[in-house]
C-alpha cells in the first residue's frame, strides 16, 4: 500500500516535471568514464531527457565535444561522472571547470574514495575530503547490505533544496566535511552513526580505532559530515558535489529500503539535478525603481531628507511553465541605503496584491554624499540577489532653504525702515535750501 503510494507520488512528480526545462539552457554534457555504463543510469538520464534536456555523452579522454571552446562554454550544464578518472583530455582541467562556473555553466561533480583531479579540485570549493581510500561505512540500521551501502534518511535536510519527505536514500561513497564558506551548504548529511574507514569488512571497534589513529586526524564520522553538498558561485553558477556516483544508479533507484518501499534515489537525483541546473530556487531581479513620494520619475539625485520610495520586482523561475513568474514569497528582504556604512536599513516587504513587487518608503538621511540602494539577499540554495544602485544625495538648493521666517521680522522691519528713513532723509536734505547752509558757513568763517 505504502509502496504504491510512494510509487504514485514519485511517478506523479516525474510527470509534473516532465515539461520542465532549465532557466539557463537545455544542453547537457555528460562526461562518463568508461568503467561506468550508461545503461546503469537509465533512470536518471531518462528522467533528465523527459524533462527536455539534450544529453551529450563523452568519455573523459575524448577530445570532442570540448566543454569549452574559444572561451565559450559549449554546453549549459556538465555532469562529471568520472569519479575515478586520473587523466582527462586537455580541455578538462580544474581551471577550465572553474571557468565554466564563472560563465554560469552548472557542474555536477561526483567524488570517489580515490585521489583524482576532481578530488584535488574539491578544496577550492572548501570541501574537506577524508584521506584517500576511506569510504563512508555504517553498521546501522541492521540490513543485509554491506556496511558501505547505507540508507540515509532525508528528514535531516535543513536546506529545502530537495524535499525532506522522501523515503531513505541508498548511498555508497565518501563523506566530506564542509569548510566555513558561505557559498557552500550541505544537501544530504551523513547519518550520525556513520564514519569513514578504509576497511569495508566489519572488524568491530578496532577498525574504528585504526581509522581514528590513521594520520592523527581523529575520526571522520557523524552527521557533521555531508555526502551531498551544493555550492553556488558569486555569479550564480551552481555546482553540486556528490560523494558517490551510485546514488544516481538504477540499482539503488530500484532497490527497496524496506519491504515494498522503494528508495528515494530516483526523485532525489532529479531534484538535485533540477537545483544544480538552475531549474528550482532560481530568482531574478526584474526591475528597480526609486522616486520621491508623490512623484513617479526616477531622479538622478535626491535632496537630503527627501521621502523616497524604493520598489523592486523579483521573479522566480517556474520549471513547469518554463517561464519566470513574479514571486512574492520572500519575507525577509532588506534594503540598505549606504554610504561607506548603511545609513538606513529597513525591511523591504512584498506589496500585497501586486505579485513580485517589493516596496518601501523611507526618509533620506540628513547627510549629503554618494549613496547606494543595496538589496543583498543571500540564502543557501536560493539564487543570490544582489542589486546596488548608486545615487548622489545633495544638499538643498539655495532657493530651497526656508526664507522670511516670522522670528526675523524685527530685522526685516529694521532694515526696511532704515532704507525708508534714508530716502526720507535724502529728500529732506535735497529739499532743504543750500543757501542757508552756505550762509551759516559764511557766518562761521568770518
Amino acid at each position: 500500500m505504502v509502496s504504491i503510494c510512494s510509487l504514485l507520488v514519485s511517478l506523479l512528480s516525474l510527470a509534473l516535471l516532465s515539461l520542465a526545462k532549465s532557466s539557463t539552457g537545455d544542453s547537457v554534457l555528460v562526461v562518463l568514464e568508461p568503467t561506468l555504463d550508461q545503461a546503469n543510469f537509465s533512470v536518471f538520464f531518462d528522467g533528465l531527457k523527459k524533462k527536455g534536456y539534450e544529453l551529450t555523452f563523452r568519455a573523459p579522454k575524448d577530445v570532442s565535444p570540448a566543454i569549452i571552446q574559444d572561451d565559450i562554454p559549449s554546453f549549459s550544464h556538465v555532469i562529471l561522472f568520472a569519479p575515478e578518472t586520473k587523466a582527462y583530455a586537455g580541455d578538462i582541467t580544474p581551471q577550465s571547470l572553474v571557468t565554466l562556473l564563472s560563465k554560469n555553466t552548472n557542474v555536477l561533480f561526483v567524488l570517489s574514495s580515490k585521489q583524482t583531479p576532481v578530488s584535488s579540485l574539491a578544496p577550492e570549493f572548501s570541501l574537506i575530503l577524508p584521506p584517500p581510500g576511506t569510504p563512508l561505512i555504517s553498521h546501522f540500521p541492521e540490513r543485509d547490505t554491506p556496511p558501505s551501502v547505507i540508507p540515509i534518511p532525508t528528514t535531516t535536510n535543513t536546506i529545502p533544496v530537495t524535499s525532506s519527505n522522501l523515503s531513505p536514500i541508498w548511498y555508497s561513497g565518501v563523506s566530506f566535511a564542509l569548510g566555513n564558506n558561505p557559498l557552500l551548504f550541505p544537501i544530504l548529511r551523513a547519518p550520525p552513526e556513520s564514519f569513514a574507514a578504509d576497511s569495508t569488512e566489519d572488524t568491530g571497534a578496532d577498525a574504528v580505532v585504526d581509522a581514528a589513529e590513521k594520520s592523527g586526524e581523529g575520526l571522520w564520522a557523524g552527521s557533521s559530515m555531508s555526502v551531498v553538498a551544493g555550492f553556488q558561485t558569486r555569479e550564480g553558477g551552481r555546482a553540486a558535489w556528490v560523494g558517490g556516483v551510485e546514488v544516481f544508479g538504477d540499482e539503488f533507484a530500484n532497490k527497496e529500503v524496506a519491504a515494498g518501499v522503494k528508495s528515494g534515489n530516483a526523485q532525489f537525483a532529479q531534484e538535485l539535478a533540477s537545483w544544480a541546473f538552475q531549474e528550482s530556487f532560481a530568482l531574478r531581479v526584474d526591475s528597480i525603481d526609486h522616486h520621491r513620494v508623490n512623484d513617479t520619475t526616477v531622479r538622478e539625485h535626491y535632496t537630503t531628507n527627501d521621502q523616497v520610495v524604493y520598489t523592486t520586482h523579483i521573479s522566480k523561475f517556474n520549471a513547469e511553465t518554463n517561464a519566470w513568474e513574479p514571486f512574492s514569497g520572500i519575507t525577509d528582504l532588506q534594503l540598505e541605503f549606504t554610504m561607506l556604512d548603511p545609513h538606513v536599513r529597513t525591511a523591504l516587504p512584498p506589496v500585497p496584491g501586486s505579485p513580485g513587487e517589493y516596496s518601501v518608503t523611507f526618509r533620506v538621511p540628513d547627510r549629503h554624499g554618494v549613496f547606494k540602494f543595496v538589496v543583498d539577499y543571500k540564502r543557501k540554495g536560493w539564487t543570490h540577489i544582489h542589486s546596488s544602485t548608486t545615487v548622489p544625495v545633495v544638499p538643498p538648493r539655495h532657493d530651497e532653504y526656508p526664507r522670511f521666517l516670522s522670528a526675523a521680522w524685527p530685522y526685516y522691519v529694521g532694515a526696511i525702515s532704515t532704507s525708508v528713513a534714508f530716502w526720507v532723509f535724502a529728500v529732506l536734505w535735497l529739499a532743504g535750501d543750500d543757501k542757508s547752509l552756505y550762509k551759516k558757513k559764511g557766518g562761521k568763517t568770518q
Binding site: S126, I128, A212, R234, V370, V393
Partner: protein, 836 residues
Amino acid sequence: MTAAYSLPQDISPSFITNTASLLRIVALALISAAAIASRLFAVINFESIIHEFDPWFNYRATRVLASNGFYEFWNWFDPTAWYPLGRVVGGTIYPGLMATSGIIYNALHALNLPVDIRNVCVLLAPGFSALTAFSTYLLTKEMKSPSAGLLAAAFIGIVPGYISRSVAGSYDNEAIAIFILMFTFYAWIKALKLGSGFWGAVAALFYGYMVAAWGGYAFITNMIPLHAFVLILMGRYSSRLYVAYSSWYAIGTLASMQVPFVGFQPVRTSEHMAALGIFGLLQLLSFASLIRSHVSSSHFQTILFVSVLALTAVGVGGMGVLTWKGWIAPWTGRFYSLWDTGYAKKYIPIIASVSEHQPTAWPSFFMDLHFLIFLFPAGVILLFRGTPTTTVLPSGQITTETKIRDEHVFVIVYAVMASYFAGVMVRLMLTLTPVVCVCAAVGVSELLDVYLDPSEPEVGGEGKDGEESDAASTGSGGVTATSGAPSATATATGVASPSLGKKSAKKEKAAAAAAAANSSTGIVALDSLVSTLHPPTRTKPGIWGLDTRLTILLNTTALLLFFVLHCTYVTSSAYSSPSVVLASQNPDGSQHIIDDFREAYYWLRMNTGEGDVVMSWWDYGYQIAGMADRPTLVDNNTWNNTHIATVGKAMSSPEEIAYPILRKHDVSYVLIIFGGLIGYSGDDINKFLWMVRIAQGVWPDEIQEPNYFTPQGEYKVDAGASKAMRESLMYKMSYYRFHELFGGGQVMDRVRGQQLPSVGPTLDVLGTFPSFSPPLTLLTFGCVDEAFTSENWIVRIYEVKKEDLLGRDLKSASGFAEGKKRKRSKPVSRRRAVVA
C-alpha cells in the same frame, strides 16, 4: 642759479604736461604689453594648457559655470570628488575667479567672438597682470610721483616673484587676487587722502571682490585696520580716517559676507576681530573729537584718555569672553603656522606636506626679486623721511614740502608685515612682491630725480646732498644716514655690488622686525627719529657737474638692464613649465616632450567605465577629475584628513589590509606615479613618507613611520628595504615587473639611485619572506592587476580585482589560477576516538 646742463626754456607748461601725460599713457601701454608678453613663454614653449594641479579644478569649475549658468554653479554638488562623500562645490570655493572668466567668456560670445573657454582661462592671468601693473602705478603715484609709479609698474610687470604665480595657464586665484589687492589698497589710500566716502565704498567693493576671489583676503582685513591703528597711535587721527575706514568697513564686511564660503566668519572668527575693534575705536574717537569741538581741551584730555582705556579693556575682555564661549572661533591651524613654523609639521601634516607652505630660502628672495630686494629698504627709509610733494603753482614756480604722510605709513607697515610673512611661507612671497616693487620704485625714482635735476646747489649744500643721495640710493641708509655722508659715487658703487646691499638689507630686516615686534612704541619712536633725521630747514639738494650724474645714471641703467635680463631668464627657464607636460632634451638638443600624465589620464577617460572610482594620492585628484573625468577618493582640496589618511593607509599597508579598504570605497583603479625609470623625482615613493605620516596620525597603532626605515634609519627601496616597506601596496605597485625591463641586468632606480635586487632565492611554500629582502621577481598581487602603464612608466594604473568566484582569499585564488596545488586541509571539527 647754475645748471649742470641746459634745458630748452621756450616750451609752454601746458605742452609739457600734455606730452608728459601722453608719454605716460604710452609707457603704461608698453609696460602692460611687456607684462603680458613675458608670461606667454609657457604657451610658446609648450601649448595653451592649464598648469599644475589646482588650476585644473578652477578650469573644470569654470566650464560648469560657463555651460550651466551661475545658479547651477552655485548649487553644484560634485559627486565625483571625495567619493563617496562628495563635495558641495558652490559652498566651498572662492567663486571670484570662475565668475570673472565666466563673465569674460559670455561677453565675448555676446560679441560673436566664440573663444574657447580654455583660452580664456589660460590667458586670464597675463591679462590681469597688466591691470596689476596699472594699479601699482596708481598706488605709487599716490606715494611719490607719476614717474615712480611708472617704474613700479614696470617692476611689478616683470618681477619673477609675481610671474611665478601668473604665467599663462596658471589659472589660480592669485592670478586676479594681486590686482584686486593693489587696487583695494589704492582705493583705501585715496579714500584716506580725500576723506571721501566714495573711494571708501570703492575700496569696500573691491574688498568684497577680493573676498570672493582669494583666501588671502585676510591680509587686507588685517592690513587696513593695522594701518588705521598705527595712525591713531601716531596721533594722526583725523575725521578723514574715520570717513574712509568706517565706510570701508561697514560696506566691506557686509559685502564679504555675501560669499557663501565666508558666511558669518567676519563676525565669528578671530582673524576678523581686529577690524571690528578698530571700527569701534574709531567710533569712540570720532565721538570724542565731536565733543572736543564743543568743550575745552582740559575736559577733552580726560575724556579721551578714559574712553580709550575703557574701550581697549572692554574690547579685549569681550574678545576673550566670546572666544572662551566659543562664539568666536579661535585662530585656525594655518594661522598658527604663520607664527610657529614648526607648528604645522607637528600638528597638521597635511598642511606641512604642501611644498609651498615651507619657509622661504634666502636665495629665492634674490631669484624672485633680484636687485629690488636691495632697493627695498632704501625705499622704506625714503618713505620714513617722506617724499617731497612738488606742486606746480599756476605761477609756474615750484614749492616742495617733505613730510611723512599717512599713505607712507601704510606702505611702511605693509612692508614690515609682508617681509615677515614672506620669510615664513614661500607662497606669501607673492604678497611681499608688490610692496617691494613700490618701495624700490620710490628709491630708484628718487635717485633719478636727484641726479637728473640739472640745477646745481648753492654752496653749502653738499652735506645734505651726500646724505640725501645716500639715503636715496643704498640700503645702508637706514643705519648710516644719521651719521654723516660717504660721497655719492661711493654709495653708487655700493648699490652696484650686491654683497654690501644684501648685508644692509639684512640689517634693515632686523630693524623692521624689531619695529613690528613692539609696533606702537616702535612706530612712534621711528616717527620721532624721522623728524630728528630731517631738521625743518633744508636746502634744495643738487649735484655738481655731469660726471657724477653720468656715473650714477649709467650704473642705474645697467642695473635695470640686468634686472630685465634676469627676469626674462628666470621666467623662461624656471616658471613656465606646466608640470602636466615634462620636457627633456634630445641628444641633438631638440626638445622632447614627455606626456605620460595625459596619456594615462586619457586612457582612463576613454577606456574605463563612466563611474569607475580611481584612487590616487591627493596631488593628482584635480588632474584626474579634470582630464580623466573619473571619480576620485581625495583631491587637492584637502578638507577631510581622515579620508586622505584612509588612502595613505591603503597605500602603505600590505594587500590583505588594503583590499578591504579598496572594496569598501568601491575603488576600481589605483593610480600611482613612478619615476624610477626616467628619474622623475616627484613620484609617489618620494612622497610615500607623507602618506605614512598622515595615516599614522589617524591609525597610530597600525601604521608607524619608523617601520618604513631601515634599522639604520635610512629610507631605502633596495635590498635593505624594511619589511613594511616591501610589503606595502605602494612599493609593490611601483616596482611590479620593473626588473624585467633590465633583462637580468642591474636593476637601477634612477630617482633614488639605488640598485634593486633582481634575482634571489625563491619563497618557501608557506610564503614567508626570508630574512633578507626578496627580489622583485617575487612581487605578485592578490588584489590588483596591472591595467595600464604609460610610455615612460611614470603613471601606472592598477585595476582592483573582483571578489573571488568561489569565495576564496585572493592569494590562494591567484595561486590556483597559476596552477599551484594547495595543501590538503583538515576538517574543522575533530573528534577523538573513544578507545574501547
